[in-house]
Every structure is written in structure tokens, then in C-alpha cells.
Symmetry: none
Subunit: 199 residues, 2 copies
């Protein structure tokens, strides 16, 4: 297992440093054709270049998924910023993002895995799990928020969950003594509005 954690920290630090450096240097962010020396401003994006950019961004699409969500939330909350951030992603990028909402499909997973594999060790299982968890959690979040609003915040919860499964509940009897029923509950009202205004 080695100390992955250490590595992570290292990375974070380095990244931050990097960031700072960029910042100090004015974050040039490599101009496309920034040859605006005062005349022939050739900032023309050839189709090739454009394509390259799109491709890169598409690859990062998955990586930024959450960022987009947050941005959307922000946009929705502020209303001021408006469309500025909502539509700045390429269609490819958006495609990826959106794919997460519905059906990942094996094909997608393979694609994504392939692309991400270029940047590090990753398996299809990882991607699959990620989507799986993502869907489940976003759904549950919505559920909670919705129910919370509808129920007028009353602490009535408790039982409503019902054991639809009627599953023998496994053999709880065994551990009934120690299980501490964590009971989830992340009541994070506030931000989680999760508006789906997309753009």
C-alpha cells in the first residue's frame, strides 16, 4: 500500500505551488495564436486547433463533472452571473457531463476508461462504480431535499422508510447488540438545491 497518502499530499502541495507560480506569472495559459503584435492578429483558430482543444476538454469532462455542478448551482443562486458559465463548455464536454445523468452504458464506460487510462491507472470498474455511486447519491440527495421541503422539516422521518424489502434483514439478530444504526442523515439544506437549470 505504501504511503499513498503522502503522495497525495505531495501532489497537492506541488499542485498548489504550481498554481501559485502560474498565478504569479500571469497565467499565460498559452495563447492559441496570440500573435497580436499589432497587426495581423492571427488568432484564428484553425479547425485543427479547435478540434484539438475540444478533444482535450472532452477528456477532462468527466474530471470536471462536479465542478460543473457547482457552477450550475452558483449560477442558479446568483442569477447574476447568468449564462456566462453555463454554456462555456464544448459540446463534447457537455455530452460527457450529461451522460452521467442517465445511462452510462458499457460503451461509454469503455470510452471514458480508455481516455482516463492515459492519465493514470484506472479500470472500467472504477468508472462504473463512480457512475453508479454518483447516480445513487444524487438521487438520494434530491429525495432528501424534496421530502424535507414537503414535510415541512418536521422530524417525522423515522419509520417512513418501511422495510419494503421484507428481507429477513439478514441475521441482524447476531449483531443487533453492536450495530449502531448510523442512520445517515446529512441534512445539508442550504446549498444542495441542485437546480437543474443547465445553462
Amino acid at each position: 500500500m505504501v504511503n499513498i497518502m503522502e503522495w497525495e499530499k505531495q501532489q497537492q502541495q506541488q499542485q498548489q505551488q504550481q498554481q501559485l507560480q502560474q498565478k504569479r506569472e500571469g497565467l499565460q495559459s498559452g495563447n492559441v495564436n496570440g500573435n497580436c503584435a499589432g497587426m495581423m492578429c492571427v488568432k484564428v483558430m484553425t479547425d485543427e486547433q479547435l478540434e484539438t482543444l475540444r478533444k482535450q476538454i472532452a477528456v477532462y469532462g468527466v474530471i470536471c463533472e462536479q465542478l460543473v455542478d457547482l457552477h450550475k448551482q452558483f449560477v442558479a443562486q446568483q442569477d447574476l452571473a447568468g449564462a456566462r458559465l453555463g454554456n462555456m463548455y464544448s459540446s463534447d464536454f457537455r455530452a460527457y457531463i450529461r451522460s452521467g445523468n442517465g445511462t452510462p452504458s458499457k460503451q461509454k464506460i469503455k470510452e471514458i476508461t480508455a481516455e482516463l487510462s492515459q492519465h493514470g491507472q484506472i479500470s472500467e470498474t472504477n468508472v462504473y462504480n463512480w457512475f453508479q455511486n454518483r447516480r445513487a447519491r444524487s438521487k438520494r440527495k434530491q429525495q432528501n431535499v424534496a421530502s424535507g421541503n414537503a414535510e415541512s422539516e418536521v422530524e417525522t422521518e423515522a419509520e417512513s422508510i418501511k422495510d419494503k424489502k421484507t428481507k429477513p434483514e439478514e441475521f441482524q439478530s447476531q449483531n443487533s447488540g453492536n450495530s449502531r444504526t448510523e442512520d445517515l442523515c446529512l441534512q445539508n439544506p442550504e446549498v444542495s438545491s441542485e437546480l437543474h437549470y443547465l445553462t
Copy 2:
């Protein structure tokens, strides 16, 4: 295994901060587009979009570069060793398991169910599902491992690949049996807070 998912978050955070900073400082690399007003600028994208793309790519590029380098140091140690099937159920159960990996057959299921019933509530359906899932998953796992095993096989792991296949874990003491090695993860819950500065 270093998951992309993990550092993805870092990137998200990084990017967010980056954008954040840029916004706060009003850092617009306007030199690229600013003085091209009267020129023949054949743009395929708006300044804003272009700017956004450049930023994203620049940030990602640098970060990824470093990440890739750092990953290389660890990739070699990434060993999946996903093949472990030791099971730790009752010997009886184990015997059954071993008897055949395919098709339990109704008879078998009945028997097994009967035996396990001595230890707790369990139905044939449970047993059936269990076999079903087990087969499917073990198969898929093999696939994944096989395909993903192109990496160098460094045996850095102490050992303990111990199996964790836990089955009727329900019966067993809810032992927390620390499973295997791996995983690392980090996230950035504070992104949201950062977001507030975005304005």
C-alpha cells in the same frame, strides 16, 4: 490503485481556485483578443469562450503533467492481485462452494439453505441470489483483472490480499475485517465554499 477519480477532485479544486483567483484579480489575458478589434480575426469562438478554453487547458495541462510524472513512480507498485477466492464460511458451506462453481441446482440450494438455516434466517432465494451474483461477479472480475494486467507485476504488497469475499457475512460476526490494501482518496468539500467567492 491510484484512481483517477481521486485526483480528479484535486483538479477540480485546483481549477476552481484557479478560476476563482483569476476572477478576483480580473486577470483577463485580454492581450490576446483585446487589440484585435479592427483586424480580420476569424474566430470560431467568442473571446469569452476561447478564453475559457485556454484557461481550462492551461491549468489542466500543467496539473496533469505533474500528476503523470508522480503517477509513474507509483504505477509500478500498483498491483491488483484481484484473484483471491479464499472463503471463510463454515466448512460445510465451503464444501458446497467448492463442489462446483457453476449451476448450483435446486437440490443443492435446498440443502445449503437448510444448513444455513440452522445459523439464521435464510431463504432459498437468498442462496440462489448469492450464487447468481457470485458467479457473475467472479467472472467479470477475472475479465477485468486479465485485461488490466499489463502492468509490471511488482509484489510490493506484504501479502494479506486476504480474501474478503465475505458471504453470509451476516452470520459471521460483523467483523470489520480490514479487507485489502489500496484505495486512497481525497476530496475537496471546500470547493463549495470556494464557490462563494466566485462572484
